[in-house]
């Protein structure tokens, strides 16, 4: 609930950094809720993941719209892109959840997970280095 309030404040005042913290809080709240419910798999996790993505896309799109007013066709195209990405996100999250529900994982799957995590961390690190180097 707190994250939703922070997100509402961030969007109403058009603060991108506060939006980032709001989504971090949302993710943190979800982690806490998972820990509270114990070892049981949250079968609706893919729904949360898809909605999380949709919220992020709409939030950053609303920030872009405070700066410029695009043509109406561009608005429609962006909306279609968000819908497509959301559908893809739902599907991919479902696949990941289903794959984890099928078996204990195994070495191969763990390796894929580690590689994905390392890749994501490397991307973040690269962005941070480039941000520090840019004038």
């Amino acid at each position: 609930m707190g994250a939703v309030i922070v997100l509402a404040f961030a969007l109403s005042s058009a603060r991108p950094r506060t939006v980032a913290w709001a989504f971090a809080l949302l993710a943190g709240e979800y982690v806490i809720s998972l820990e509270i419910q114990g070892d049981q798999l949250d079968r609706a996790a893919y729904v949360y993941a898809g909605l999380f993505l949709v919220a992020g896309e709409l939030a950053y799109w609303s920030l872009e719209l405070t700066v410029v007013r695009p043509e109406s066709t561009a608005l429609i195209r962006r909306l279609v892109a968000i819908v497509l990405v959301a559908v893809g996100g739902f599907a991919l999250a479902f696949v990941v959840l289903a794959a984890s529900a099928l078996g204990s994982g195994g070495v191969a799957l763990t390796a894929v997970g580690v590689a994905a995590a390392v890749g994501a961390v490397a991307l973040v690190a690269g962005l941070a280095v480039r941000a520090r180097q840019s004038p």
Binding site: P16, R17, V19, A20, F23, A24, A27, Y30, V31, L34, E35, L41, D42, A45, Y46, Y48, A49, G50, F52, L53, G56, E57, Y60, W61, E64, V68, R69, P70, E71, T73, A74, R77, R78, A81, V85, A86, G88, G89, F90, L92, A93, F94, V95, V96, L97, S100, A101, T110, G113, V114, A116, A117, A120, V121, L123, V124, L127, R130, A131, S134
Partner: protein, 444 residues
């Protein structure tokens, strides 16, 4: 490209932009959340967190894959290079890209004094691959002056908004905004006139004008073209037309640019420039010679001349006048003698704030010039007194200005108080009334 004199449009400039690529805040947030979720999934053993990260990774992969750097070109043309205050002028921007762009944001940096007629500060358009498209935007010139449109910023985002490409281009478009006219019904009559032939003062006491005066008998030496054939057919002998001699005045506009009083977008210099342009136009229309002296930290002058070209020379010189700080003493001596011809009427437009211009104006009647002063009053531009002490200080200041005006009037120089929001015609009528009264007083 060279400027075509016959074409009033500003020259077209076209350039290819150097594009910089930056990550949007969304990219950083998605990458961080995805990495944290994946690590959390591994550490805590929660596959739900991997599912949470999966859509974010999908967006990152697709978004970065579609984020190609475009090659942008931009060209700018102003509809006209010269407009009047309050007029609108169109700015045409020709934009091109080698890739399809869903949303190209355009920001034109406008100098103070130019505004967009309506709409937001930025525009967005969509461009197809290899398309060149021209957009037209209306600008309004709020204040006279010379303006340069220097820069345009173009920004485009990748399809999912993860990467931002920006480029800046130099426009190099110049716009000259001429001052608007003030209301003026009559001019100040010059006490001394001279005989002109074009821009040359005639040495003859009488020179031929163009206005019919009378007819007289032909005498040897008269020009054949002056014979009035109709009258000659009616009466015996030949008769010739007599014309009024061309008698015109030298008028020098004296614009004080040492100091000004200003509030927000309007100041005494703005009023003085508009008045000078209006007065110059009227005197030149009645075939007087008009010159200009911009008396300030930077001294500018124009020799007195006739004609419409002189009007544009004067207006161009007025546009370039600006207030700049200087403590150097300047007097009338610094003005070349040719700029102030003998017996010229000097119309001074000054807020009478700077002692240098006050002294210089007092020197002019002492040197035999016919001087009138239009005091562009700084009082409306001063701060509103907040208390009794400030009110008293303001009254003392106004009294001091009254004393200065009286000093000029004792030397026979009329000083008209012209305030913002009132017509210039009222001030000129005040000057003319003083000169009529002063003549009657001398008769007694």
């Amino acid at each position: 490209m060279s400027r075509d004199r016959a074409d009033p449009r500003c020259r077209r400039s076209r350039s290819t932009l150097g594009v910089t690529r930056t990550a949007s805040p969304k990219l950083a947030v998605y990458a961080t959340l995805a990495a944290a979720s994946l690590l959390g999934s591994l550490v805590l053993g929660r596959p739900e967190l991997a599912a949470l990260a999966a859509p974010l990774v999908l967006v990152l992969a697709v978004g970065l894959g579609l984020a190609d750097e475009p090659r942008l070109t931009v060209g700018a043309t102003l509809e006209r290079a010269r407009v009047a205050e309050g007029d609108e002028v169109a700015l045409d921007l020709e934009l091109g890209s080698d890739r399809a762009l869903e949303q190209l944001e355009i920001f034109v940096s406008l100098p103070r004094g130019l505004i967009r007629r309506r709409g937001t500060a930025a525009d967005t358009i969509r461009l197809q691959k290899d398309e060149r498209r021209t957009i037209r935007r209306a600008l309004r010139a709020q204040r006279w002056g010379g303006y340069r449109l220097e820069e345009v910023l173009l920004r485009t985002r990748s399809p999912l908004g993860l990467v931002v490409h920006e480029g800046r281009a130099t426009l190099d478009a110049e716009l000259r905004v001429y001052p608007r006219e003030e209301t003026l019904r009559e001019l100040v009559g010059s006490r001394e006139t001279q005989v002109f032939t074009g821009n040359i003062v005639s040495r003859a006491k009488e020179a031929e004008g163009i206005e019919f005066a009378d007819i007289r008998s032909f005498v040897p030496g008269d020009q054949i073209r002056r014979i009035n054939w109709r009258a000659s057919a009616r009466w015996p002998g030949l008769w010739v037309n007599q014309l009024h001699p061309e008698r015109n005045a030298d008028v020098i506009l004296f614009v004080d640019s040492f100091e000004e009083a200003r509030r927000e977008d309007e100041g005494t210099l703005d009023m003085a420039v508009r008045a000078a342009a209006t007065i110059a136009r009227r005197y030149l229309a009645q075939r007087d010679r008009v010159g200009l002296v911009g008396f300030g930290a930077t001294l500018r002058w124009l020799l007195p001349r006739m004609g419409s070209i002189q009007l544009y020379r004067i207006i161009e010189a007025l546009i370039d006048i600006e207030i700049s700080l200087s403590y150097a003493w300047s007097g009338i001596d610094v003005i070349p003698r040719r700029v102030l011809p003998p017996r010229a009427l000097v119309v001074a437009l000054s807020p009478l704030l700077d002692e240098r211009s006050q002294r210089a104006l007092l020197d002019l009647p002492a040197r035999g010039f016919d001087l009138v002063v239009v005091e562009v009053s700084p009082i409306p531009f001063g701060p509103t007194p907040a208390g009794p002490v400030e009110e008293l200080a303001r009254r003392l200041w106004e009294l001091k200005r009254e004393a200065l005006r009286s000093r000029y009037e004792r030397h026979g120089v009329p000083v008209a108080d012209w305030r913002a929001g009132t017509e210039l015609a009222g001030a000129i009528e005040g000057v003319n009334a003083f000169r009529r009264y002063a003549r009657r007083a001398r008769a007694y």
